[in-house]
């Protein structure tokens, strides 16, 4: 721990700390441009010069380039250092266009701040400014190259940190140009981060362009709901419109960055068709009145058919408050449910995963970056949870081996090994990997009895493809020497056995190496919470509705018509209902079909809400504004609006939890259902995973807490690890429904900026298989599914499992025709419709 003095104040810092970081710990912000904690030191901007008065380094040096050492005496205010810094800022401003009044970075611009703090006020340079032509960089990032001060942050993030190479530095000297080879959309799904990183207005947020100065915005800490990772955000609203989202630092989750889905998905909150008014039948109604009507109708049905005739269906995108209240309501009223997942098999997979997590096994995204061997089983990170890919890249940059066992043509922005096997073979691959990683004797000799017994049960069937088998064994041998392995597993497209199997293998690795991690992806931002609430009991509302036992369905922030894989069946079941009550903030098909509709708020509005990410971390989203129809929509572009009301237009929606509480009160006639404080008490009694909740202080909730149990709920080892999951009938294909970075995720599919960048949906087949079937890429094909026909364009790939057909759950594709569970498909069910375009 070197001890040094900076501006007469002493501090001890860990070995390897740079002086600029040591100063920051003392609260001294040394000016900087190129240095960034996530990107490290570069030494290019020369802005962080300080004077080293005593110690091993002497004179004016860059504080980002010098490691703190014992005996150093540093002055940040020395006249020579200050004069140099003043010159640096003067040089940087030579060519800067001084267009702050029309620059979106104005007011949130490091260059402005450092110009003032550097003491550069008078322009002495009389030469001409060099100018550049800007490029179109896609729908997210606005380019204004004249403002560039060449700090390198964008390129370092884009290429080194994130691993994409379509954006960089061209030319030389002060003509150096940051951009693309040719104008066009940035290819990286992390491109938006260069906006946050840019110290001035070269790269600004395009969708929010000219929409307000920072001080005009209602800003606050929020959470990303566009996958299960729970990245931290800063949200900004103005004039009742969600304007912009930036990354918010979280040391264990997302670091300094977020993906573009998380950055631009928020726009669902501004959707012009967002239902903001309560409705009874076709008629708009005040919310409290519609709520009363709903209570009345639900009460009637309960009276007529019994409490089990009412069922509730929620989703994993609701806050813990809403989920908990829905659970309480069902218990209080004796309703059926709630069901939280679109289909029963998914619920089982998620529950199996969550039951295996404990403090000893679960790793955060940050932990993952320090792993030295990562097995990604049944996951396609860029498509499903992009920030996972960024963490994998950091691990790879530190030397980790990354092996992906997945049928899809997985792309990762890093060096990795991909084994394209069908979902049915993933468990086997994990077995083989385990076996190759340790010899039998080593295993039985070294491992504790339970682990050794499990190891003994692993089958050693070989993979059909000897080449894949060999690659897998080679990976296993590499795993032998690794010390900090992690298994990553999604719960989406894998067999039901796989999440548990991944946990077994991780536990085996832990028994062997003393250290190993487990990292799941779950379907939705609050899937962890939903899985805990769902408990062991299985609810299958669809079946119950079909059987006619359900007469009224309360659908809370959920769109079964969009997410249930068998829409025909669902529609028939819905026809059996006497009443459909919908609560939502999305203009979904289910919302539209509801006979009584009650509008809810988004995560950005009115009240605090909490979500539990896939590693059991409870996090808080702070409301940014009171909601209501954005002024730009009310005024139809004109401002100020010409009608004057005493209520906020479109301001009626309330948090789902509050509406459910009032519904409960109206149903029971008792005025006091659990309020927020009591809700935590209620939840902590509901599941041991929630037991901490009752004792949490407000500040702990604000910071977020890890809810993981010390020991996983489920026994450590699956009883039959050798059991092979179901195989497709000979000669048939398995249809896999998958996610895409843009276009499949529910909330984001209502966000206008994301709609602009989503890829066309495609059916993906192995190149050889397509050729065998006489199909060519680009052709329209008809896919005959159990629930009917889907028309889709064909794409082919070499690096995918041969026996599968892959289709995204794309918003522009009517894919809900498969039914639950694996879908087997005879190849002749794929028919050519037209020649390629």
């Amino acid at each position: 721990m070197p001890t040094l003095r900076i501006d007469q104040r002493e501090i001890s810092v860990p070995q390897g700390t740079k002086v600029i970081e040591a100063a920051e710990k003392l609260g001294i912000m040394i000016p900087r441009f190129c240095y960034h904690p996530a990107l490290g030191s570069l030494g290019a901007c020369r802005m962080c010069a300080v004077k080293f008065m005593e110690g091993p380094v002497k004179g004016v040096e860059m504080s980002c380039m010098v490691e703190a050492a014992d005996g150093m005496v540093v002055s940040t205010t020395d006249p020579e250092a200050m004069e140099f810094r003043r010159y640096v800022i003067e040089w940087l401003m030579l060519n800067h266009p001084h267009d702050c009044p029309i620059c979106d970075a104005g007011g949130q611009c490091l260059l402005q701040d450092e110009t003032v703090s550097g003491g550069h006020g008078l322009r002495r340079y009389q030469g001409l400014k060099r100018t550049f032509e800007d490029q179109y960089l896609g729908e997210f990032v606005q380019h204004e190259m004249n403002r560039c001060i060449h700090c390198w942050r964008c390129r370092r993030f884009y290429q080194e940190f994130a691993g994409y190479f379509d954006y960089g530095a061209m030319q030389i000297g002060n003509r150096m140009y940051f951009g693309r080879f040719a104008p066009g959309p940035l290819e990286s799904p992390f491109a938006g981060n260069i906006i946050d990183l840019c110290p001035t207005g070269v790269l600004t947020d395009k969708p929010s362009r000219y929409k307000g100065r920072r001080w005009d915005l209602q800003r606050g800490p929020s959470l990303c709901l566009h996958c299960s990772l729970g990245c931290n955000l800063v949200g900004s609203a103005r004039y009742r419109e969600m304007i912009r989202v930036e990354a918010r630092f979280h040391g264990a989750v997302n670091g300094y960055f977020i993906c573009d889905r998380g950055r631009y998905g928020f726009a669902y909150a501004n959707h012009p068709d967002r239902p903001r008014q309560a409705r009874v039948g076709e008629e708009a109604a005040p919310l409290d009145q519609a709520l009363k009507t709903a209570a009345q109708r639900l009460g009637q049905i309960r009276e007529r058919y019994g409490p089990g005739a009412v069922a509730a269906w929620g989703s994993t995108r609701s806050s813990l408050e809403t989920l908990g209240m829905l659970q309480w309501l069902c218990q209080d009223q004796g309703w059926r449910g709630p069901q939280f997942f679109p289909q029963a098999s998914l619920a089982r997979r998620v529950k199996a995963a969550v039951a295996r997590l404990d403090t000893g096994m679960a790793v955060s995204l940050r932990d993952l970056e320090n792993a030295d061997f990562i097995v990604v089983a049944g996951a396609d990170p860029v498509q499903e949870a992009p920030m996972l890919a960024l963490a994998l890249r950091q691990a790879a940059r530190r030397g980790a081996t990354v092996a992906v066992i997945d049928p899809r043509p997985v792309f990762l922005p890093l060096e990795y090994e991909h084994l394209p096997v069908s979902p049915g073979d993933i468990d086997l691959c994990l077995n083989l990997l385990s076996q190759a990683a340790r010899s039998e004797e080593a295993a039985t000799g070294k491992l504790e009895p339970d682990a050794a017994r499990f190891y003994g049960l692993l089958t050693s069937t070989n993979l059909e493809d000897p080449l894949l088998q060999e690659r897998l064994l080679a990976l296993g041998r590499k795993l032998q020497d690794c010390l900090r392995p992690v298994i990553v597993c999604n719960t989406d497209m894998v067999r039901e056995t796989t999440p548990a199997r991944a946990a077994d293998q991780a536990r085996l690795l832990q028994a062997d190496k003393g250290q190993a991690g487990l990292f799941y992806l779950l379907p939705g931002p609050n899937a962890y919470g939903a899985a805990l609430l769902a408990g062991r009991e299985e609810v299958d509302l669809l079946a119950a509705m079909e059987q006619g036992g359900v007469k009224a369905l309360v659908v809370v922030e959920n769109d079964p018509l969009g997410s249930c894989p068998d829409q025909e069946r669902l529609l028939r079941a819905l026809d059996n209902l006497e009443l459909l009550v919908g609560l939502d903030y999305l203009p979904s098909a289910t919302a539209a079909r509801s006979q009584i509709f009650l509008p809810t708020t988004t995560v950005f509005e009115k009240e605090f809400s909490h979500f539990i990410n896939q590693e059991g971390r409870l996090q808080q989203a702070v409301p940014l504004h009171q909601g209501g129809t954005p002024i730009i929509q009310v005024g139809q572009g004109s401002h100020p609006p010409r009608t004057f009301l005493d209520a906020i237009p479109g301001g009626e929606p309330r948090p789902g939890a509050g509406i459910l509480a009032d519904l409960a009160a109206a149903l029971s006639g008792e005025p006091a259902p659990p309020t927020a404080g009591d809700l935590w008490d209620y939840l902590s009694g509901e599941h041991e995973g929630f037991s901490q909740l009752a004792s949490l202080t407000a500040s702990a909730l604000g910071e977020g807490v890890h809810l993981l149990p010390a020991e996983a709920q489920e026994p450590a080892w699956s009883p039959e690890p050798g059991e092979k999951p179901p195989e497709p009938p000979a000669g048939q294909l398995e249809l896999l429904l998958v996610d895409q970075t843009f276009g499949t995720e529910e909330l984001g599919s209502y966000a206008a900026p994301l709609q602009k960048v989503e890829e066309e949906p495609h059916l993906l087949l192995h190149t050889d298989l397509a050729a065998d079937l006489g199909l060519a890429p680009g052709e329209q094909v008809a896919l005959l599914l159990p629930g009917g026909e889907v028309t889709v364009r064909l794409q082919t790939a070499q690096n995918m499992a041969p026996g599968v057909a892959i289709m995204p759950r794309h918003r522009r594709l009517h894919w809900q025709k498969t039914g639950d569970g694996p879908v087997w498909l005879p190849p002749e069910n794929i028919k050519k419709l037209s020649e390629p375009l």
Binding site: F165, G168, M170, Q171, F181
Partner: protein, 166 residues
């Protein structure tokens, strides 16, 4: 799809494959493509990227850095006029101006006959023969208008195949 002649494509692919590290061939590849296309055209950048398993941007990052890679069309002969301080001492820019006037071009432009481009160049290392210029790998020193005229005439007459980096 590649527009290179198949033989050249194969030759370059082999050159890349034979390298310990393909990327160390990037400048060599650019020189060959520059010679083939006459300059490092957009197409050439894309060809180089494909050959080297790089993105066009990565090639462009290099192509635009170096002054002997021409990203814009040039004449058959590129005249690099030394503007080092010693040459400056002797001609104070007049060689460059004379050439431009003689050929009717400005810096970087191509003469009407497509033969010449004049570029100012970093000290060529021919200071003992100042003022100097470099054309097609050959130095010409102790320049004066008469000598320049004769050199241009000779180049026009005896057009020869270019050495690799011109």
């Amino acid at each position: 799809m590649s527009t290179l002649p198949p033989e050249l494509q194969t030759e370059l692919a082999q050159q890349v494959a034979a390298a310990d590290h393909p990327r160390e061939q990037v400048i060599n590849i650019m020189y060959v493509l520059q010679k083939h296309y006459g300059y490092m055209s957009d197409e050439a950048v894309e060809e180089a990227a494909a050959l080297l398993d790089m993105t066009p941007l990565e090639v462009e990052e290099l192509a635009t850095f170096y002054d002997f890679i021409y990203r814009e069309a040039v004449g058959k002969f590129v005249i690099h006029v030394c503007d080092g301080v010693v040459c400056w001492m002797f001609h104070e820019g007049s060689v460059f101006d004379y050439l431009c006037e003689k050929l009717g071009v400005c810096a970087g432009g191509v003469s009407a006959d497509g033969m010449f481009t004049v570029l100012p160049s970093a000290c060529l290392g021919f200071c003992d023969h100042a003022p100097a210029m470099l054309i097609n790998g050959v130095f010409y020193g102790h320049l004066n208008p008469e000598k320049i005229d004769a050199i241009l005439e000779k180049l026009r007459r005896e057009y020869c195949d270019l050495v690799i980096c011109r």
